[in-house]
Symmetry: C2
Subunit: 219 residues, 2 copies
C-alpha cells in the first residue's frame, strides 16, 4: 500500500457499484479542490446532523470554521467522529427507462475525528485556506485579520483517516432491447455558472474588479 | 402553532445566526423543490455517514431510492434516525475583510426516521417523484417500469418530524470603518447551468429533444 492511495476499510469501501469507487489521493484531492462546500455529518446522543459548511485543505487535513456558538464547533473538544462529504453533479444521464437513468457526479466521503485548532498561527493559515478555497486569491485582497476576529472564530480540523471517491461519467447504459425505443436519450451536462458581479450598493468608491473575480469570470 | 410551520425543538432550532432561521412549510418546501440532490446522514455504531442521493417529496415525506445492497437502504428495517440536508449556494459574498466574507445560500435540514417502502404502488409513486424531481416530465417520456425493476430497487421514506431552513441573501456587511478601504466588495451570483444536451452515441435513431429537456433549456 503506497502513500498514493487510501487503504480500504469497512467504512470507506464503496459497496454499491464498486467499479465507481476510487481510493487514490490524487483523485480525492482533485474533487476536494474543485469545491468549497462540504456536508459534515456527526452524531450527538444518537441523533445525526448534517451541516453545510465551507472548507479548506492542507494535505490530508480538512479545515472548517464557524462561530464558537455553533453545534459543529463544539465537537472539537470531544474528538467526535465526523464524516465529510463533497459532491459535484456534472450532468443528468437520461436513459430510455427510469431504472437506468442516473447522474454524472464526482463525490468524496472522508472519515476522521474533529479536533479543535487553538494555535493562532494554524488558525490563521486555516482561514487563509478556506477563504481562498472559495475564491482563489481573495485572502490577499482583503484587509488583514484582527486578533479579535481570530479569537471569535472557531476552527476545527479533521485529519483524513479513511477516504473514498465515487465517480460516474459517460452516457446512459440501457437494456439491450430498449435501444430500439423511439425515446431521446443522452446527457445534459451541468456546471456552476458565475453571474455578473454586483458591486456593494453601500460602496464609498468605485473600484475595478479585483484579480480574484476577474479570474473567476474567465474560468 | 399552525400547520404552516414546523415546531421548534432542540434539534432543529437554528442556533448560529438565528435571524437566518425559518420554520414555515412554504419556505422549506420551496428549497426542497428547487433541488434534487440531498445529503443523508445516519450513524451506525457511532460512525457517522453522509451520502449524496437523489430525492423526491410528497407533502412531509421525503423518498430516497437505491440498491438493496447499499448501506443507506439497509436502514429502513431499523427505523434509523436520519438527517437530510439540501443546500443551494446562490453567490459569493465578498466583503472587505475575510471575517465578514460569506456565501448566499438556502439550506434545509430535516429530521426523521428511515422507513422501508414495501408497497409496490407507493414504491412506483416514489420513483415517479424522484425521476421528475431530477427532470420534470421525464417519467412520462421513458418506458414503463418493469415489475422486476421495482423489486430490485429499494425505496426509503422519511416523514419530516422536525425541519428548519436557513437563508442568507444580499450584500456584504462590513465593519463600519472598513467601508472606507479601497477594496472591491459585492456579490458574485452563482447558479446551476445546463449545457447543450449530448445525444447518446449508441442511439439507433435521431429523435428530437424531448419536452422535458426543452423546458430545462428554457428555464
Amino acid at each position: 500500500m503506497s502513500d498514493a492511495t487510501f487503504e480500504r476499510h469497512a467504512r470507506n469501501d464503496v459497496k454499491r457499484l464498486p467499479s465507481r469507487g476510487q481510493y487514490d489521493r490524487e483523485t480525492i484531492y482533485q474533487i476536494l479542490d474543485d469545491g468549497f462546500l462540504c456536508h459534515v455529518g456527526f452524531s450527538t446522543d444518537n441523533q445525526p446532523f448534517v451541516i453545510p459548511v465551507a472548507y479548506g485543505r492542507k494535505d490530508d487535513t480538512i479545515y472548517l470554521h464557524g462561530s464558537i456558538k455553533s453545534r459543529l464547533m463544539q465537537l472539537g473538544q470531544a474528538n467526535t467522529p465526523l464524516c465529510i462529504t463533497v459532491t459535484h453533479v456534472d450532468g443528468l444521464v437520461l436513459a430510455r427507462s427510469a431504472f437506468h437513468s442516473s447522474l454524472n457526479y464526482r463525490s468524496v466521503v472522508l472519515f476522521g475525528q474533529a479536533e479543535e485548532v487553538t494555535d493562532s498561527e494554524e488558525k490563521t493559515d486555516a482561514l487563509h485556506r478556506i477563504t481562498n478555497q472559495i475564491l482563489r486569491g481573495r485572502w490577499e485582497e482583503v484587509r488583514e485579520l484582527k486578533a479579535s476576529e481570530i479569537m471569535a472564530t472557531s476552527v476545527l480540523k479533521m485529519r483524513i483517516e479513511d477516504a473514498s471517491a465515487k465517480i460516474r461519467t459517460g452516457g446512459p447504459k440501457d437494456d439491450k432491447e430498449d435501444y430500439a425505443l423511439p425515446i431521446w436519450a443522452g446527457v445534459v451536462p451541468m456546471h456552476t455558472q458565475y453571474g455578473a458581479p454586483e458591486p456593494d450598493p453601500l460602496r464609498q468608491g468605485d473600484y475595478a474588479l479585483p484579480e480574484s473575480v476577474e479570474n473567476l469570470m474567465k474560468s
